[in-house]
Amino acid sequence: MPVTEPVLTRRIPTHPWGDPAKRRTISYDDFVATGGYKALEKALATEPAKIVEMVKESQLRGRGGAGFPCGLKWTFLPPPDGGRRYLAVNCDEAEPGTFKDRLLVDFDPHLVLEGIAIACYACRLDTAYFFIRGEYHHQAKVFQRAIDEAYAAGIFGPGGLLKGRSDFAVDIHLHRGAGAYICGEETGLLEAVEGKRGWPRIKPPFPAVKGLFGRPTIVNNVETLAAVGPIVERGVTWWTGMGCESRVGGAPSYGPKLMGVSGHVARPGVYEVDLGIPLRRLVEEHCLGMRRGRRFKGAIAGGVSMGILGPDQFDAPMDFDIGRTHDVMGLGTACPTVFDEETDMVAVARNIARFFKNESCGQCTPCREGAGWLFKLLCRIERGEATSRDLDMAIEIAGSMGIIPGTTICGLADGNNWAVRTIINKYRPEFEARLKPRFVSIGVPVRA
């Protein structure tokens, strides 16, 4: 059964169910009046371990980019030892093309807070940090107001969850980032909360064992946590009825997903659809087709790190298997940026390479140096000053950086690697047309 009603966007008017012009921030009172915090009430009447089990059964996969099973991540926590345990909510959302979490924070912050409260109760986490990127000035204010409302209503605070319904007490604090993409990487985020530069940590130890201030920590994306409330309230069978099974015999992609479409489409925006929806349907039905009736040329799969879907991959199903079937790294945040036939793909590659050059944290040499060189090479190709040797070198450098080749600590360089390589591979003639001819020695010395 596909998504027949809005789930995460229940209170946020979204096509085809509502008119985005009518969106407004849902206050605590509005939230409660429309059945809010009922899931938390239900959760508090259940054993914490049962909630974890339920989320595990729902096969909810992380919505932040990696698609890691959320319930499984929760089970990595060691048993409580009386010390502090943390939840770090990842609202860094700095991946170019991605703007789905902003929608939830802007208009339905209490849905996120309810998910946070349930996650803290289920995993016995006593303190939550809501890490929001520095550029989200307005959203930080909206969310802080929602936190204040929730404290005033007794959801959080020393008196125990939900006005003392449970004697387990949770505190939540908003923590603003300050303009660093790398803080969206889970351990970079932890460093930023500790007041340090956002340099990712070497894993293991994983955050679930040794995270914030050396204590067990769960890091979850905003959308993932927002989905926890509906799952608890309406059950696992309902959740797994949406989305799709795996096409390659792997883990399924269940549930609805927020997909934010940008670029050359007639009606860009965030849509809530089934996982597995073909990109073509997403663009043609939800976004009303391509802008100015032009033809599709390609699309970033879900945030620039994931690489590009070529002109012949318009029908790609948007599920977690996409990385194994369509030569991209993965689904990422499921927020595609769509390009029409007039787009210069060399410029796209150069733009993305510049992004990674600017955002490399500088900790690992292959990423710090490689990103700079990739950008320079792509600029040279764009200006028409490069030879075929430069193009080969760009591919070689790109392919050597990241966790997958085993040369860096975090996945930032893998994003650069995949973005640049897939664009060059899928649009090679366009790159070659920009190259200068190279004169090769044929072995006859001029002055013999």
Binding site: G97, R102, R176, G177, A178, K196, V261, G263, T337, N358
Partner: protein, 184 residues
């Protein structure tokens, strides 16, 4: 991000008698911020945000004061400050125009916005006008790709921009008087 060589050994720190971190700020941080974190360093980012917001930049003297307040080495504070783009150690214009240059904005026409501001104010990205009124910067994805191109003017996001609209926003900013810097 953090790769600007700084002559730290020979740099002179400008000092003034009045502290940046006032007694009332210290008291408020101690009461509101520090209990939120396990270590005192945890409060560093929120404190830096306040200083950046109040003064438009983070003066070196303020860093020394923060280091003393949190029990850190001044180098630790400098380390964090220079890592994050939002924190600047030098003053910028009263009005900072940040044009998004990431992929969705580039394919939807961010270049026109940049060119218009360049022409109008006679500055390149990274520069400040001589009267200290405007600074133009380019920024990476501002998370509003559905309404590209966008720009962040001080702390307000302007969406679905045209060159004309951005020019209008800049004109409005030029007319308005901003309150002088100071602790909030």
């Amino acid at each position: 991000m953090a790769w600007i060589a700084k002559p730290s050994g020979t740099a002179k720190i400008e000092r003034r008698d009045e502290p940046y971190l006032t007694a009332s700020m210290r008291e408020r941080f101690e009461r509101e911020l520090l209990p939120r974190y396990e270590t005192r360093q945890g409060a560093l980012l929120p404190i830096l945000h306040e200083i950046q917001h109040a003064w438009g930049h983070i003066p070196h003297q303020a860093m020394l004061e923060i280091a003393a307040f949190l029990g850190l080495r001044p180098a630790d504070v400098l380390d964090t400050v220079t890592f994050y783009e939002e924190f600047t150690t030098r003053p910028r214009g009263e009005c900072v125009i940040g044009v998004c240059q990431s992929i969705a904005c580039e394919v939807c026409g961010h270049q026109e916005l940049l060119d218009r501001i360049r022409q109008k104010l006679g500055i390149e990205p990274g520069e400040t006008t001589d009267d200290g009124k405007f600074t133009l910067i380019t920024m990476e994805c501002l998370g509003s790709c559905d309404t590209a191109p966008v720009a962040l003017v001080n702390e307000t996001l302007h969406e679905g921009l045209t060159a004309e609209r951005l020019e209008q926003i800049v004109d409005e900013a030029a007319r308005s008087e901003r309150a002088p810097h100071g602790p909030c």
